[in-house]
Amino acid sequence: MISRRDMLKTGACAAAASVLPGPAGAQVAPFAPKPGSWRDFEVATRLDLPANGKAQAWIPLPSMREDEWIKPGKSAWETNALSAEIVQDQKYGAALLHLVFKDGETAPRVEVRSGFSLRDRAENLATKSAVPALGEADRKLYLEATELMPTDGIVRETAEKAAAGKTGDLDRARAIYEWVVANTFRDAKTRGCGTGDVASMLRTGNLSGKCADLNALYVALVRSVGIPARDIYGIRVAPSKFGYKSLGTGSDVITKAQHCRAEIWLDGYGWVATDPADVRKVVLEEPPGNNTVDDPKVVAARQVLFGAWEGNWLGYNAAHDLVLPGSSHKVGFLMYPQAEVAGALLDCLDPDTFKYMIKSTELTA
């Protein structure tokens, strides 16, 4: 059943703008991402596949383009594959590098380097502006159910309860955000970023997991009450400049730093950044760990991550239920490198066996 023992108290946001204590008592900036200068990065993804039969691989490439916060750049690769081509999925526009290795290749390998630019984002939710309406095709796309994110039955019932008494998309989406933050928890034992089987989570009452579970739950709940939303699958690429160790990378090796974030569409604001899963990450992981819900770092994260996020995270794409080109295998989302050897999909959550390594570099002029 859902545990409410650590339910967050509403109205406890006053500390959000306070200055957070940093390492050794040093003071760091308050958690207040704001659109500013762009930062340029390069991510290098290296795959070395087992030579056990014919191999194929699929590597996500930066394909989100939003003038407010992300600009994808060029990708280049070195490989001994028979063929290597960029393929773009028709439904979501997700780009990937598809590689086919010759049967008998003794050491299938590839290294892809992708450039992109990021910056912080923050929406002023106090004031609407003249944002063009979301196109009808996108509205339909970002309201629809996916295989793992149904929008009817227990999902809609849960969302209606969470948003009860609220009117308007902004207040309803915020109420559902608060519900997710209050009722879910991050489980360190979850492999990778989780699976995101929303119906199973709600039906068993086991609302634990990681970002692909918790943010998928948020997206499904929001969609179910008629507010467009999308889960963006990506990877953290830099430390947090706001002193949040749990919300940034620890080194330039980011092989296990995958993370997804949620956006909601609000008329008059456009796509709005949210990340309820990262609030739960701060609760569990921000040193010293297992923080209380009224810890200033948790309170600040909870307030900020509805409307803003830091530009230290690359969003690859917002695709779901993707059939890998040239294969019969389908993935619920494309956040990890994927590979198939002798017809069997490798375990993308086991990079040491797979194997793959991802590195991030900030490019400075």
């Binding site: 489980d187 199973s200 068993t204 490798l346 375990d347 086991d350």
Partner: protein
Amino acid sequence: MAVSTSGAADEFRPWPAETAPALVLSQLDGPGIDLAEFRGKPAIVHFFATWCAPCIAEMASLNALAATGKGGPAILAISVGEVDSRVRNFFRDRPVAFPILLDRDRGAMKTWQVEGLPTSFVLDRDLRPALKAVEPLDWMSPLVAAALAALPSTSPKSNRGEKEPPP
């Protein structure tokens, strides 16, 4: 063997379907399996995933049921939407005494109208729908044992035209 399934339910709900869907799937590290081959004894068709925490406790409970001896139902556990190697690694640490089937593309889950994991179906010895559970079950509970024991030995429909056994 004592198995803790804290929070698990111990009651089935009716499965009102007229017939059970077909089920033919690959087996983890074994030949493909057709549910039809199990006609003649009750069968449990159990949908699960290795990432699903409640499924892990229930899997131990199912294995305890399997260990109770001959005459029990056949058990078919179906991993939904997972990579073979991930399932293989999972059962390397937690071996079970029944086959693990692979619903790689979630096709069987859809056909069987499974809305969440875990979900279990119980079929009688004629493979007709009998019982269903849409939440984790304690398979060693007395109520579950009683429900399994009460499954009809043959369904009324398949009895038609057959002679009564001699007294």
